[in-house]
Amino acid sequence: MTVVRILGSGQFRLDDSEVGHLNELDNAVASAVAAGDGEAFKRSFGELITHVRTSGTAVADGELVTSDHVLPAADTTLDEAREAFAGDGAIPG
């Protein structure tokens, strides 16, 4: 099982067979960020978040597990995603 955290939304357990598709969606997001395409980013990042939420099961509130992958918050903007590539801008404090 793979544990994915979406910042602000908690952790989700995904079957390892889902990880391939997860990476495909993630690559589409990276391309959109590289191209600076806001529409494509919104669509692909939305798909990625939805995939984690729908194909995974939420980790129980009181359970303490380490995540294998971490995704920025669901309402992340293209600019914030860009900062994540450039430095640690998307992770304040």
Partner: protein
């Protein structure tokens, strides 16, 4: 190019690892971490309260703008009734401007409500994780030496470190967004103050108000004149005898 996920995961883990500072004495680490967790929970509670305050402020501004819309609507009607189409048009233009501002405020209030709900969810998760960490901590402390306990509770510690970082980032973002919204609300107030958008709630000062008031006063005078004319015409109110006689006499003399 590496994916967003792997890049973000690396950045996040660096932060999460520094989240739970290590105390000098390994025996104190677990208790020290627990203290930090409780502080973080307090911060989330304050964060929720701050978002609620910001939301209330925007709701007050909304109520104020709604009041001025009702007022402008009334003014437009009055102006039209007084055949002042120009004034009615001005009132309706201002009404449209304020309606635009209102829509912006509605969007912001919805966003703040979403943020409030997210923070409440995060508080619930963090609270449950802190409680479960506390239980695990007590169990390992009873069974193992301090150094061994530290190792045994490793997964719980990193899991909690993640949650703490997650909450910390959410709080920072919530604060940034709230500040942005307050800045925008302040900008609207400033526009109103400097007259770029007339503050139509400031009743006696505005030009439109004065003109409508004059118009209303004018029509009131007209209405009273009409009434007086009608009364005088029908001769209804009997004049005082003496005065009446005098004036009749003088009228006859004049002839």
């Amino acid at each position: 190019m590496a994916g967003l996920m792997s890049r973000f995961t690396t950045l996040f883990k660096v932060k999460a690892n520094t989240m739970l500072d290590k105390a000098e004495d390994p025996g104190q680490t677990l208790d020290y971490s627990y203290q930090q967790q409780l502080e973080m929970l307090q911060k989330v509670k304050r964060g929720v309260a701050d978002v609620v305050t910001a939301k209330k402020r925007l709701q007050l501004q909304t109520a104020k703008l709604e009041e001025s819309i009702v007022k402008l609507d009334g003014q437009a009607r009055q102006a039209l009734a007084g055949n002042r189409e120009d004034l009615a048009r001005t009132a309706l233009e201002r009404k449209a401007l304020i309606q635009g501002q209102l829509q912006g405020l509605d969007t912001q209030i919805t966003a703040l409500e979403q943020q409030q709900q997210n923070l409440i969810d995060q508080e619930r998760r963090l609270s449950a994780k802190v409680e479960s960490f506390r239980t695990q901590k007590e169990v390992v402390k009873a069974q193992y030496s301090a150094a061994e306990a530290q190792v045994r509770i490793g997964e719980a510690t990193t899991g909690l470190g993640e949650e703490m970082s997650d909450v910390g980032i959410a709080l920072q973002r919530a604060q940034d967004k709230t500040e942005q919204m307050q800045a925008r609300a302040a900008a609207v107030n400033e526009l109103v103050d400097t007259g770029a958008i007339d503050d139509l709630t400031a009743a006696p000062g505005s030009d439109l108000d004065a003109q409508i008031a004059a118009l209303t006063a004018g029509s009131q005078v007209d209405a009273e004149m009409e009434k007086l004319r009608a009364e005088v015409g029908s001769g209804a109110p009997a004049p005082e005898l003496g005065q009446g006689a005098e004036s009749t006499e003088s009228a006859e003399e004049a002839k």
